[in-house]
Symmetry: D2
Subunit: 343 residues, 4 copies
């Protein structure tokens, strides 16, 4: 099957990141079209990618026959029109949050997609793809912890830009915890309260920070979220799920930690090298592929352990096998590396 | 640039895993040829990959003009000949460890590659690509801990196959720590001693397990390695580096933990969402690409949050913005999902 | 100075524990009088302690001239009268919480003590004496974290007795977090809200469990407390303080963990053996003292490492000193223990 | 029973610490006699303790009829004579390590005590009384981990005095791990090897530091110990026991961490408030006793939460009970503290 041809709309910070991702780390896809309200920027990005063109009108980019699917990284207010155009052309679209900026237009988009009878729109709540969140969801769904009851969330940023205001805390930060809640609890949120304590002295005048959001779901589950965007420390995202038979926390920098009867806490050790080093293998192969593709020009087709490294390991192991029977220190014999120019 | 065409030699457990990796997760490469000493197996694998053929002779596979690079996942004793053939045809090759099974043939391979004046051989010590090992190496190279002095390693498997013997502990398990030592210390190992305590009652008769390897490097650094392959617990790989100004440990299931003056322990929090969720983005996009490529057949181009999920988030945030000023609980208004067939 | 003579009023679970504590682990005090509304129980306890008498009327016990100080472990409703009697007789008193069962009588007790011009009443909020809480308080007072802003508390019990109701969650569990808040923030609480999510299926009919308390202090700081008394897991008490320049958490089973700029997390390693093993020394000496006091009757004045243990250590170290120069394994020479009857 | 009268011989750093401990934290004992080779120092210490005298000759101090038991904190070379004098007078003695400075005199002491048929000598290996070591021993003895096989120990000091030499690493540091090994394994050590890697640049010229001790026990168990006394970091003592069915580590600043089948890691949560806050209660009562004993002179008999603290807690809980039914924020009503002078 040939590669999926994607149009990326919006090549600001997030969009440019997606362009790089699709080009260098995603299998089976390529960026065929880019668009940005700054036409020059789009041209620049397109120039760096073989077979990619810049199209100056976003709706034209969507409609282009050489585009199989669309990735929206444009500002929220433009989403409605772009999404409806995608639906019209039956183009699958991955839309960075928010879907649209208000509830009526969001609902309209939902209705229009539903009428088509085919699912075309995915929203970019990427936490669902994070190993820890996925693990927490699996733990909940596995039933080991019984009914979920309460969710405690923490969302902290070291700093925010000057234009960031109290409403953005809700729309841009809380929105992730809203999706996490719905993802983990599989039900809708029915009410929300926001507590605004005395602000952090470091927060800009007028910015309520921290804020505490208190939500309740359809079945009466409780969620609280600390939103704190001027901590000066780091990016911290933490979620603790409290359930009938135990609790589990992610985001503690120590993987998923579970507490359960009869009074134990802890995590899971990787059962085999596949879980432990699976990603290392991916990285190894991707970097080797990249090195080989560059190799013709450089005379170096390697980005990792060399033949010499393999020789040295063999030499040590050979001495080790002798040491196994002698019990005494055994000297390792190797030739002098300098005696082999180029090794 | 067109995709790199790889020949995978050996499609047993490890080779098949690499085939799947290159086909579905690696950007810029595809499996063009497979080979196995079981010809039928190779045929089977090739049949599942568009544009891939099985070639029954491994040396022919290497030489094939449609092959740009070779991945060796064949048994160790066949490596020498296959590597030399790669060199002869100037084909870059990623060789699963060991390079070869004895020190003389390993050295011969090193010499032959060196004579070519171009680096073509990479050895599959994949730990160097693991985030924790890479982080430990960066910490050492950054100089913050001063001179490295001692390395404590633990390598534990829950179980091994029946044919696993004491020599394999050295050749197949210790070999990884040999490379880790050389990678972290950037110098050669000069002597090795192996202590064999009273064996684990669960170990097969005749298997020395655990074993303790004690190594010394050229400049006099000390390394000890516990090798224990019948623990019954899990796969545990741990490395502690002790240096002039502090120590650091990886493999504790809690990321890299550093101890340094003036008497503190701890790790690093991710500075931004890019470090924290970068992989989640990769996964999100890869799964979306896969879903869209499958979509024509299924009428579903989504593998993640749907338009409804976007609508729900918008509705909650809208209530949240009201709650921000009222301080009281605010009800969330949403239409009934069932009222929109297909949503 | 002679030992402080204490009257313990109430020798139920908590009172009996205090009697044992004062008798066997506290220096400079002894239980001189015990009282309980079950006179027989008091007699029984008194019989086990040299020089201790049971007095059947609690107010007589307080007034007794052989009593220097009083420890109240009686039911809450009796506290008011007993405290006022202590004040009348100028007897220092340690009163288990609550001070009294309602706010008017509590205030009356405060007024009466204040009129005396001497501090006689201490309340049993023992968390202030816990190393972790004390450490958190010291961290706050040290100023390193800047202004405290938010407190997140978790208070979980595995189970409660059948008579435990929703009000007891507030009066008996939340009361500790109330004191922790006032201790850490050094200011009064001005409002409180309690959220009652859908109850845990395991909770008794009619018991709101979990409950979420949301409090605000005089200066506008936010506190939330999860109170959950039917977890089935264990006793979990956790407090996270979020401040201007970082946050710190206790109760994670890993000591105090601090997060602060520039993006690090971690704790403190004990600077010397005194901090690390100070308590072990206390335990060692107390157990040795106890063994020696029992020794006349048993012929054994030891509760710990024996002379043989000392000999064995010396023998190994002597071999170790030889090994230091030889670099080779050195055999340890010791006589056969059986050759010394009684060793 | 009257208090045990102890003679403390040697009131240097360690001895003075023991004097303070017995005087202020140990129940049922008092320091009756002190001795030091610096007579003036002993006089000074004695002057600060009611009913304590200084005796200038250590053997006289032991023999004194007002002494029930002896604590030796004198230099090692004086131990032999002092221990034999204790035996002669049938005085129980707690002897700081080493028992004596060489193996022959140690054995002589063992023989002489054995001949008496009563156990009088305890050696000060205090780690056996540390909660973590005691917990590890209990875990081993409980059999859950199966046969112990290997012990990995780390013993690190931030710095040592100038006169500290390579032999002291063995005699003063390793000696603790020697006892830990014998305590945990319940068997003797039969051989020892010491590896001396390239020294830490920060170590004094001529000091082998770090050192690695490799020991083997009677039944063939393996022990390795990293001894590193110039780390510049902190005091770190860590022990990992590897056994047939799992492993457990202490000294990681996170309590005892256990790994066992089927692939889990973790610890134990305190089952009730007694385990969690038992020590806080001890501290609370000891500090209250101390405050009351000081109280007559100061007019303050309190060292902890006051009556006001009790009142405030009651006031908040009363509001909390209202909030429980209303679900809304409820204001807390309290009188102004300043309206009650002295409160």
């Amino acid at each position: 099957m040939s590669d999926l041809r994607i149009a990326v709309l919006g090549v600001g910070l997030m969009g440019a990141d997606h362009v790089a991702r699709i080009t260098s780390r995603i299998s089976g896809a390529r960026v065929a079209v880019v668009n940005d309200y700054l036409a020059e920027k789009a041209e620049q990005v397109a120039a760096g990618i073989p077979g990619c063109q810049a199209i100056s009108d976003p709706l034209d980019a969507i409609a282009d026959p050489d585009v199989d699917a669309v990735l929206l990284a444009t500002p929220g207010p433009t989403h409605e029109k772009q999404l409806l155009t995608c639906l019209e052309h039956r183009k699958p679209v991955l839309c960075e949050k928010p879907l649209t900026t208000d509830v009526d237009t969001s609902l309209e988009v939902v209705r229009r997609e539903a009428e088509l009878g085919t699912r075309l729109i995915q929203v970019g709540f990427m936490r669902r793809f994070d190993d820890e969140y996925a693990g927490l969801k699996a733990l909940v769904d596995g039933g080991e912890l019984g009914s979920p009851l309460v969710l405690h969330c923490v969302h902290r940023n070291p700093a925010v830009p000057d234009h960031f205001d109290s409403v953005m805390t809700v729309r841009d930060s809380l929105v992730h915890e809203v999706d996490v809640t719905r993802f983990l609890f599989d039900e809708e949120i029915t009410s929300i309260q926001i507590v605004t304590p005395t602000p952090n002295p470091a927060a800009r005048e007028g910015l309520f920070d921290p804020q505490i959001a208190i939500m309740r779901t359809a079945s009466g589950k409780h969620v609280d979220v600390e939103l704190f965007v001027t901590t000066g420390v780091a990016y911290e995202v933490r979620t603790e799920l409290v359930a009938e038979k135990g609790s589990a926390m992610i985001g503690l920098d120590v993987g998923l930690v579970r507490k359960s009867a009869p009074g134990t806490w802890g995590g899971t050790i990787t059962p085999s090298f596949k879980e432990r080093f699976g990603r290392a293998y991916d990285t190894e192969i991707q970097r080797w592929v990249d090195a080989v593709r560059r190799g013709a020009g450089t005379g170096n087709h390697v980005d990792g352990p060399s033949a010499w490294d393999g020789y040295a390991a063999t030499a040590v192991c050979e001495a080790g096998v002798q040491a196994l029977t002698s019990g005494q220190p055994v000297a390792v014999h190797m030739v002098d590396r300098a005696s082999i120019p180029g090794a």
